[in-house]
């Protein structure tokens, strides 16, 4: 057991830190889930790309640095430590790209990965449908074969598509075999949103941003080269994406360590009010719990990365990670609101907005009820 980073890793950390210190915007960007903010964030994402920081763990040929998972973790720690902006391009980078690496053809890799890294292709995800939320296999959007067009005609409706109004591509599942049910007969498509037959309607989100969109597709032609993995085998590709989504790549520990550090700073500001009984005396314990949880999440991730470095796959255990970070994130923000007391509703330092964002955690990427089912059935082996 060795919890020391190597000198090469230390040097990498120093390099990231120096770059972030010199480049992270001094004041926070407007929310990336508004039209104005999205544009500002894109500038930032492209600045990251130009400096080679967009996707450090990818091979250099696709725009990365070929960094190890350990260096990726270090990058993330430094990124969040520096208070750098949320990644509006995260769906393409962290959810779709791992599936392209695993299932894409060489042509698909060469075409998509560099453009994703460069934030030219901006992907939103098209999983949920009005009647397929927690029950993802209930998808009814369909793809009908059109040999003349050299591909498929897609028809259906996708919903809760985060930043869908600002993206130019969508990835998602469509039913290619109408005779098959549930998770069989689905295929995984990459769909350009500027194509004929696509309508995108923004939907306002709880926290006030236009973060969601509904995407309507009517007879949208996509060519065969936009099918990822085999036809009718989309579920398998999708599961690799949702595993990424639940686990390692969606929420790196650095994010929560940074949030926990901000929380401890907020506690110090409010300590007098806590000690005077004007605020919940139990907040001290709640703050240290949040800090410890972030620390535990980091250590658990180290364990997971060790296993992955040893060649193990991240399986159903990814559900543990989703449960842990999403519940940690909610309670961390509730603690912050408690520290703000009656000022909480004023959104001081963005904590109320952050709280609202955290409430999405136990819902998206598979609700925590679904995740507990996964743990019970696939990790513990309880009957379905």
């Amino acid at each position: 057991m060795d919890l020391r980073f190597s000198s090469s890793e230390d040097a990498f950390r120093a390099e990231v830190r120096a770059w972030m210190d010199g480049n992270v915007p001094a004041s926070p960007l407007p929310s990336g889930d508004t039209a104005e903010g999205f544009a500002a964030h894109l500038d930032w994402e492209r600045q990251l790309f130009d400096a080679g920081w967009a996707a450090v763990s990818w091979p250099e040929e696709y725009g990365g640095r070929g960094a190890t998972l350990w260096k990726w973790l270090i990058f993330e720690e430094e990124y969040w430590r520096a208070g750098a902006p949320n990644r509006v391009n995260q769906n393409g980078l962290f959810l779709l790209a791992p599936s392209i690496f695993a299932f894409g053809t060489d042509e698909q890799k060469a075409r998509f990965l560099p453009k994703i890294a460069a934030s030219e292709y901006l992907f939103c995800q098209g999983w949920s449908e009005p009647n397929a939320g927690s029950d993802l296999a209930g998808i009814t959007s369909r793809a009908v074969r059109d040999d003349a067009a050299g591909g498929w005609r897609l028809t259906g409706q996708k919903t809760w598509t985060t930043r869908g109004a600002f993206c130019n591509w969508l990835f998602g599942l469509f039913r290619t075999d109408p005779d098959q049910e549930r998770h069989r007969g689905l295929s995984y498509f990459l769909v350009p949103l500027d194509g004929e037959g696509v309508t995108v309607r923004p939907v306002g989100r709880l926290d006030g941003d236009d973060g969601f969109a509904e995407v309507f597709l009517e007879d949208v032609v996509v060519t065969d080269d936009l099918v990822l993995g085999e036809v009718d085998q989309g579920w398998r590709v999708a599961m690799s994406t949702t595993s990424s989504e639940r686990g390692l790549s969606l929420r790196s520990p650095g994010r929560f360590m940074a949030a926990a550090t901000q929380l401890t700073a907020l506690y110090r500001e409010q300590r007098d009010a806590v000690e005077a009984g004007l605020l919940d005396p139990g907040l001290r314990d709640a703050v240290v719990r949040a800090w410890m949880d972030a620390d535990a999440y980091r250590l658990h991730t180290f364990r997971t990365v060790t296993r992955m470095t040893d060649g193990e796959e991240l399986g159903a255990e990814a559900s543990f990670m989703k449960l842990f970070w999403s519940e940690l994130d909610v309670s961390l923000h509730e603690t912050a609101l408690g520290l703000l007391g009656p000022e909480a509703e004023l959104d001081v330092d963005g904590w109320m907005k952050g709280y609202q964002f955290s409430l999405a955690g136990p819902i998206y990427a598979g609700t925590n009820e679904i995740q507990r089912n996964v743990v019970a059935e696939r990790v513990l082996g309880l009957p379905r």
């Binding site: 949920s128 809760w160 709880l206 004007l278 919940d280």
Partner: protein, 356 residues
């Protein structure tokens, strides 16, 4: 011993509920986010006509001469409808406070408040150690009742009129709440009452806000139960999944036990006892029950509940604002702790408390 509302009290609450179903549907609440005063146009006049604003006002001042026990059920209904009207501040706090102060002040202000001619804002509790920094409806009010520390170093109530204050708007997470920082100067001329009256007014505000929170929570639970019956996933209603059932049962349990402590808080205000303790218990329970109901509602709804097109967020955000506006649940438990744990043991025999 009879721990239930009277038929008259039930009838009054039902009448307000009918009015609000008609005049204050979710779209009206949503619309209030866009109006200058954050209110539903014309709704206050309807409440005035029904006598709601003057329930606790003396009859000589145009009120009904009733009490918090009559108002509490009405407040639950205003919560259930998420009505963005200052029933707590005006009807439960300002009017009875001014009536208690009496004299010319009461004669001037209570009738005009009860008739809807004048509006009041109340800043007695808000602010962590910083006085009454932020007050709802402060910019639009004709008269403000504000807490301050007087020259004696003791807490006091001051009455200031609109022209004597300057205000700076502050945004709330609840778009129908018009908050403002108030800049004003307490003087011996603005002082209208001392610490004790301030405490009673604050306790009334707590109980009234707790009643609103119970109503908000109950409405979210009801909506969510209906949604869970209809929304299907995996081929059946999500309400048939045990995880969903248990979430909803737990939320219902919290509300079931919050209502009696809120009613007892109103009872103590009227019949005497430790109003600070009982109003804090009411707020502690109601705030936690409403918060849990909101959390549960959002989780059971999933993504649709996370949109502003759906109505749920109107209730949820009101809860987020109100659950700490008068001090949060933990603050109120600490108030109870000071009475239950720090006083002499003999005083804590529960069987004596109705005889206090």
């Amino acid at each position: 011993m009879r721990f239930a509302p009277t038929d008259d009290q039930i009838a009054l609450a039902d009448a307000v509920s009918d009015l609000l179903m008609r005049e204050c549907p979710p779209d009206a609440v949503r619309g209030a986010w866009e109006t200058p005063d954050g209110r539903v146009p014309g709704l206050w006049d309807r409440l005035v006509e029904m006598g709601v604003v003057g329930i606790c006002a003396a009859e000589e001042h145009g009120g009904l001469g009733l009490s918090m026990l009559d108002l509490v059920g009405v407040l639950v209904e205003t919560g259930r409808a998420a009505a963005p009207e200052p029933v707590v501040d005006v009807a439960a706090v300002a009017v009875p406070l001014l009536d208690d102060v009496g004299g010319e002040l009461a004669g001037t202000w209570v009738p005009s408040l009860v008739s809807g001619e004048a509006s009041a804002a109340v800043g007695l509790e808000r602010g962590v150690g910083a006085g009454n920094a932020v007050v709802e409806n402060a910019a639009a009010a004709d008269v403000l009742l504000l807490g301050a520390t007087g020259v004696s170093g003791d807490a006091e109530v001051h009455l200031v009129e609109a022209e004597a204050v300057t205000t700076t708007d502050r945004a709330s997470v609840d778009g129908s709440r018009r908050l403002a920082e108030v800049d004003w100067e307490p003087t011996s001329a603005t002082r209208i009452a001392g610490r004790e009256a301030l405490g009673v007014a604050r306790d009334r505000g707590n109980v009234a806000t707790a009643a609103v929170l119970v109503g908000l929570g109950a409405a979210m639970l009801e909506r969510t139960v209906e949604y869970a019956k209809e929304r299907e996933q995996f081929g059946k209603p999500i309400g048939s999944f045990q995880a969903v059932k248990h979430h909803l049962a737990t939320a219902a349990l919290g509300l079931e036990y919050a209502r009696p402590v809120v009613d007892r808080g109103a009872y103590t205000l009227v019949y005497g006892g430790d109003t600070r303790r009982d109003s804090s218990i009411a707020m502690a329970y109601a705030a936690e029950a409403a918060h849990l109901a909101g959390r549960t509602a959002l989780q059971v709804h999933g993504a649709i509940g996370y949109t502003v097109e759906y109505d749920l967020h109107l209730w949820m955000k009101r809860v987020w604002a109100l659950e700490s506006a008068w001090g949060d649940a933990a603050f109120h438990r600490e108030q109870v702790a000071r009475r239950v744990l720090d006083s002499s043991p003999g005083a804590q025999d529960w069987t004596d408390k109705e005889h206090a």
